[in-house]
Structure formats: structure tokens, C-alpha cells
């Protein structure tokens, strides 16, 4: 840090607002896509596990292995197959959500009180009605808790995808920041990534509260 180069150059941020906004938008888009696709696949797998509990071990095992692969290595392995593309980035990001989401959805469904299920059966719900009208609504708070963790984790991981040219806030941190020894860009990227993670977490929490007024009644009771 010298007198010529202040710690943080606000003027650069102001001048580059459109670029920063674009990177933030990319980051958000990738996060939403990854979590949405990850959730859809995880949900299907969790329902499969419910029908065949024997599959829980293998599915969780594979998800765990995927999660254990370092992200940089995973992207490096994928580039020869899918190229430097958004697809490559998403495949990596989505595969990291599995372990969190599948385990959460399965746990959430298992946590539905047995007597609620027995009552539903006794009153003549069909299997599908029971799932959609009883089990999933009751499991929702735990499922959303899983989505929150997956989202925050994904926001962090998206910064890496700049290495395969996917953009996002990682671009500000790595490409215009670290590589050019330009701290202002790095800090901007980091602060925005953290802010985005916090905002997303709070937003999902608010969504969960709004969707499950009954859970609050329980807390109050």
C-alpha cells in the first residue's frame, strides 16, 4: 500500500459499477441454477430412497465422494469433457449440493411424526396425497434449512468457477484482483460474495417462516 495506491479505491468501484453488477448477476444466476437443479435431482433421489431404503447407503456414499473431490480438481477433470463452459461449472456446483440436500430431505421426511402418518392413512389419504399434503409440508422447515446450507456453500464455490471462465464474483477476485495485484477488485468481490451469502440465507429464512406459520406457533407455545 502506498500513497499513490490507497487501500481501497472507491472511484474504481463507482466507475465499474456496471461490470460489478454484471458479475454479481452471473454469480446469482449460477447459484440459483445450481441449487435448483441440485434440489430437483436430490428430491427425486430422496423419494427413491424412501421407496427403497437400501439405496440410501450407496447414494450418500457417491455424493460424499463427489463432495470430497477438491473443486479445482473437479473442474479440471470436467473441462476435457464439457469444455470451458457454464455446463462444466454447473455440473461441478450441482454435484456438491447432493450430499447436503439428499441427506436433509431424507432426514426431514423421516422426522414427520409417525402418528401424523398413521392418522393420514386411517382417514383415507392416498399415498400421493399423504406425501404432498402431509409429509412434505411438515418436513418443509428441515428441507429449507438444507437448502440454506447448500445455497451458502454454492455461493462460495461459484467464485472458483472463474478459473474455467464462468465469470461471477470470482472474476473480480481472481482475474482483475489477485492476478493484477489490484486489491480493490478482490475486496469488492469478496465483500459482495459474503453479502450475497448472508442475503440469500436471510431471504430463505424469511421464505421458510412465511411458508410455515405453524412452526412459529410451536416455538411460541
Amino acid at each position: 500500500m502506498t500513497e499513490d495506491a490507497p487501500f481501497f479505491r472507491v472511484d474504481w468501484v463507482v466507475d465499474n459499477l456496471p461490470e460489478i453488477g454484471r458479475r454479481l448477476g452471473e454469480h446469482l444466476t449460477m447459484t440459483v441454477l445450481a441449487v435448483a437443479i441440485g434440489f430437483a435431482i436430490s428430491f427425486a433421489l430422496a423419494l427413491l430412497i424412501r421407496r427403497r431404503p437400501g439405496l440410501y447407503g450407496p447414494i450418500i456414499g457417491v455424493s460424499g465422494v463427489l463432495y470430497a473431490i477438491p473443486s479445482v480438481a473437479l473442474f479440471a477433470l470436467l473441462v476435457p469433457i464439457t469444455g470451458l463452459s457454464l455446463t462444466t461449472a454447473l455440473i461441478g456446483l450441482v454435484s456438491y449440493t447432493f450430499i447436503i440436500l439428499i441427506r436433509n430431505i431424507v432426514t426431514a421426511l423421516e422426522g414427520v411424526p409417525r402418528e401424523a402418518i398413521e392418522a393420514a392413512d386411517g382417514m383415507g389419504y392416498t399415498r400421493a396425497q399423504r406425501l404432498w399434503r402431509v409429509e412434505l409440508p411438515i418436513a418443509l422447515p428441515v428441507i429449507v434449512a438444507g437448502i440454506r446450507i447448500a445455497t451458502v456453500t454454492t455461493i462460495g464455490l461459484v467464485t472458483i468457477t472463474t478459473l474455467i471462465g464462468a465469470g461471477g464474483l470470482g472474476y473480480l477476485i481472481v482475474n482483475t484482483g489477485i492476478r493484477r495485484f489490484f486489491d480493490t477488485s478482490t475486496y469488492t468481490g469478496v465483500v459482495l460474495a459474503v453479502a450475497l451469502a448472508i442475503a440469500a440465507d436471510l431471504l430463505l429464512l424469511a421464505l421458510q417462516r412465511w411458508l410455515t406459520p405453524w412452526a412459529r406457533a410451536r416455538e411460541a407455545a
Binding site: G122, L140, A217
Partner: protein
């Protein structure tokens, strides 16, 4: 409400064998429950009583034999349709935590696709029927007490006005005092709705109190006796029944009669605000048998006992003068429960109140004793005293 009477539920040689077990869980059960009656399935754990009940709405399918409701074989009715036409109450209630009380009660009408307006009206009607305030409609189950939740469970089971109801230890999870009141409430309700009810319990006293008929089951799902409570107590069909009913059959016979069968005593009633001197004079004018006056509030609800000392001095009577803790019983309370409540209190007088806790009269230990000596209707009596049983 409706004059809808229940349907006849008949078991014909019903057997249930679980795969991989030698002994059947339910063995060649044959009996019929007349329309509009409560049949209590009672027996020790492992006697197949819950299995028997669950075969009626096909939560469990019989291996052999058939169950009919008004002559229709239940296995010929699609399971989901059958279950929607049978009320179902379980011990843990199983209210849906994510639905309001109103929505919980409306579950079956919604499954049956009633029109929204009709569903709403029915929900309100049901809450009133089980004695819950209409304001509860928008609350969640977690905001209610255990007893209130149990009443919602009963309301939910009655929602589509099913002719038959299955109740699996419905009052098992409530404390004894609340259970007694819920039982009374339910009996009053049944007087109005007249459903055919299959009621499972392991508690002989509850069976005697609630049942028009009792089916005593023994291990292996064998029907040991099927008769009225009075007949089961007076003439146990086997040694097993005799042992299961207990050595205190004489005392249990008290469960056959209710407080409403007694002539109630007239209490000296005192109200807050009344002149103490006047209250004292009235208490002294009363017979010697009554040493206490009963203080009641403006809604005729008992507050507690007051004696002469409490009423000494001048001025007006204050609610704080009363010693609370008078045992309260209801007209539906069995004499056995009433006696037990009375013996536990220092003043051996019970206050009889109606469903809204309003004073009806007093019941004394003496009155119960006198009643014990008189024959009970439908009860042939205990006959010759028997040799004491050896306890298995």
C-alpha cells in the same frame, strides 16, 4: 344433531396371521356390534385388540374370514374410500401440525371434495359439538392442551358423519382427571350421535365405563368373552376373564352405576357479596349432616367450601374465604371414580357439576354406599362369594 345411527359391524371367523409366525395374532373371531353401540376391545398387550380394530378399515388385511359393515364386506370396498367413511381416532391424536384446527377438522370433507362453504360450516359445527370455542378454528395444534387436542381428534373423526368410528386408546395419553372428563364428554356426545364405535383399551375400568358391550381378548387373539359390562363382571366366562377383570370385581361393579343414578344432596349455597351473618344463619339452619356451605361464583360454578369459622365476623362473603379443592364429578362419572375422588378429599362430599361446570348438587360417600347395597339394573349381582383367586 343427525339421527344417523351407526351401522352393524360384524366379524365372521376373522383370523390374522403374520408371515413368519406360527401363532395367529387374531384367531377365528366371530361377534357383531349392534348399530349405535360402543364395543370395547379390551385385553392384555399382545391380545390382538388393535389388530382387530385395524382390520375394520383395512389398515391391516385379515388372512381369513370377513368383516362386514351393514352387510358389505369391507375388503370389497376400495381401501381409501372405506377409510374416508370410517372415523378414526388414535392415542397420540395425530393432528397435522401444519394445519389449523379448522383445517384439521375439515380433512376428510376436503378429501371427499365437499364445497368450501359446506366444509367451513361443518368445521364450526364440529368445534361446537366437542365444546371448543369457535376462535380455536384458526389456531395450530401446538397451541392447544392435550385434552383439547384429543377433542379436536374426535371432531375430525366425526367430520364426514361416518356411521362407524374406530378409537385406539383415545384417552390413553391424558392424565386421569382429564381422562375422566373426556370420557364423560364423549359419552354425552355419543348419546347425540349414536355411532357404532369400536374402542380399544387395555384398561378394564375404562372398558366397563365406556362399553355397551365388552369383547375381552386374550393372548393369541382369542375372544374370551363378549357381553355387557355387567354380565362380564357378574359371570366371567373363564378363569382368564376372571383374572383379567381382577379380584376387586365387587368394587368394579361400582363402575356400572353413575352419579346420575343417585339422588343428589342439596348444598347450602353461598355467593360472594352475600352478608356473612345471613350466610352463617343459613348454614346453621341446615341439617347437621352438612357442616360446610359451598361458595359458587356468578355462573354457579363452585369455588370451594366455607365453614362457620370462615363465615364469622361481619361484612360480605369474599371468594378468598373458600377452601378450594372440593372434588368435582359429573353425572356420567362412575360411582367407582366418584368414590375414589371423595375418599381422597378431606370433606367426603363431591360436587356434581354439568358439562359447563355449573353446580348440580352434592354426592356423599354414604349415598354411594347405600347404592352399593341395592341391586344394579342389568347386573345379576355377584352371587355367592368365591374363593380368593391365586394371582398368576
Amino acid at each position: 344433531m343427525q339421527d344417523a345411527t351407526g351401522a352393524v359391524v360384524a366379524f365372521e371367523h376373522v383370523t390374522k396371521r403374520y408371515p413368519g409366525t406360527d401363532a395367529p395374532a387374531v384367531n377365528d373371531l366371530t361377534f357383531a356390534v349392534p348399530a349405535g353401540e360402543i364395543c370395547v376391545l379390551v385385553g392384555p398387550s399382545g391380545c390382538g385388540k388393535t389388530t382387530t380394530m385395524k382390520m375394520v378399515n383395512r389398515l391391516i388385511e385379515p388372512t381369513d374370514g370377513r368383516i362386514t359393515i351393514d352387510g358389505r364386506d369391507v375388503t370389497r370396498i376400495p381401501a381409501v374410500e372405506l377409510r374416508r367413511s370410517i372415523g378414526y381416532v388414535i392415542q397420540q391424536v395425530g393432528l397435522f401440525p401444519h394445519l389449523t384446527i379448522g383445517e384439521n377438522v375439515a380433512v376428510v370433507p376436503r378429501l371427499l371434495r365437499w364445497k368450501p362453504g359446506r366444509v367451513r360450516d361443518r368445521a364450526d359445527e364440529l368445534l361446537e359439538l366437542v365444546g371448543l370455542p369457535a376462535a380455536y378454528r384458526d389456531r395450530y395444534p401446538s397451541e392447544l392442551s392435550g385434552g383439547e387436542r384429543q377433542r379436536v381428534g374426535v371432531a375430525r373423526a366425526l367430520a364426514a358423519d361416518p356411521p362407524v368410528m374406530l378409537m385406539d386408546e383415545p384417552f390413553g395419553a391424558v392424565d386421569p382427571i382429564r381422562r375422566e372428563r373426556l370420557q364423560n364428554e364423549f359419552l354425552r356426545l355419543q348419546d347425540r350421535v349414536r355411532k357404532t364405535i369400536i374402542f380399544v383399551t387395555h384398561d378394564v375400568d375404562e372398558a366397563i365405563k365406556m362399553g355397551d358391550r365388552i369383547a375381552v381378548l386374550q393372548r393369541g387373539g382369542i375372544l374370551a368373552q363378549y357381553d355387557t359390562p355387567a354380565a362380564v363382571l357378574a359371570n366371567p366366562a373363564s378363569e382368564f376373564v376372571e383374572r383379567f377383570v381382577g379380584a376387586d370385581r365387587g368394587l368394579k361393579r361400582l363402575s356400572l352405576a353413575r352419579v346420575r343414578d343417585l339422588d343428589l344432596l342439596e348444598p347450602v349455597v353461598v355467593r360472594p357479596g352475600e352478608e356473612r351473618a345471613e350466610a352463617r344463619r343459613r348454614l346453621e339452619a341446615a341439617s347437621d349432616a352438612v357442616a360446610y356451605a359451598l361458595l359458587v361464583d356468578e355462573d354457579e360454578r363452585p369455588i370451594g367450601w366455607v365453614d362457620r369459622d370462615d363465615l364469622s365476623g361481619s361484612g360480605s362473603v369474599d371468594p378468598d374465604d373458600a377452601t378450594p379443592g372440593a372434588p368435582t364429578v359429573q353425572p356420567e362419572t362412575t360411582l367407582r371414580d366418584a368414590l375414589s375422588a371423595l375418599l381422597a378429599s378431606s370433606v367426603q362430599l363431591g360436587v356434581v357439576v354439568d358439562a359447563r361446570d355449573r353446580l348440580l348438587g352434592l354426592v356423599s360417600v354414604d349415598a354411594i354406599g347405600e347404592r352399593m347395597r341395592a341391586p344394579v339394573e342389568g347386573d345379576p349381582g355377584l352371587g355367592e362369594p368365591r374363593e380368593p383367586e391365586e394371582v398368576a
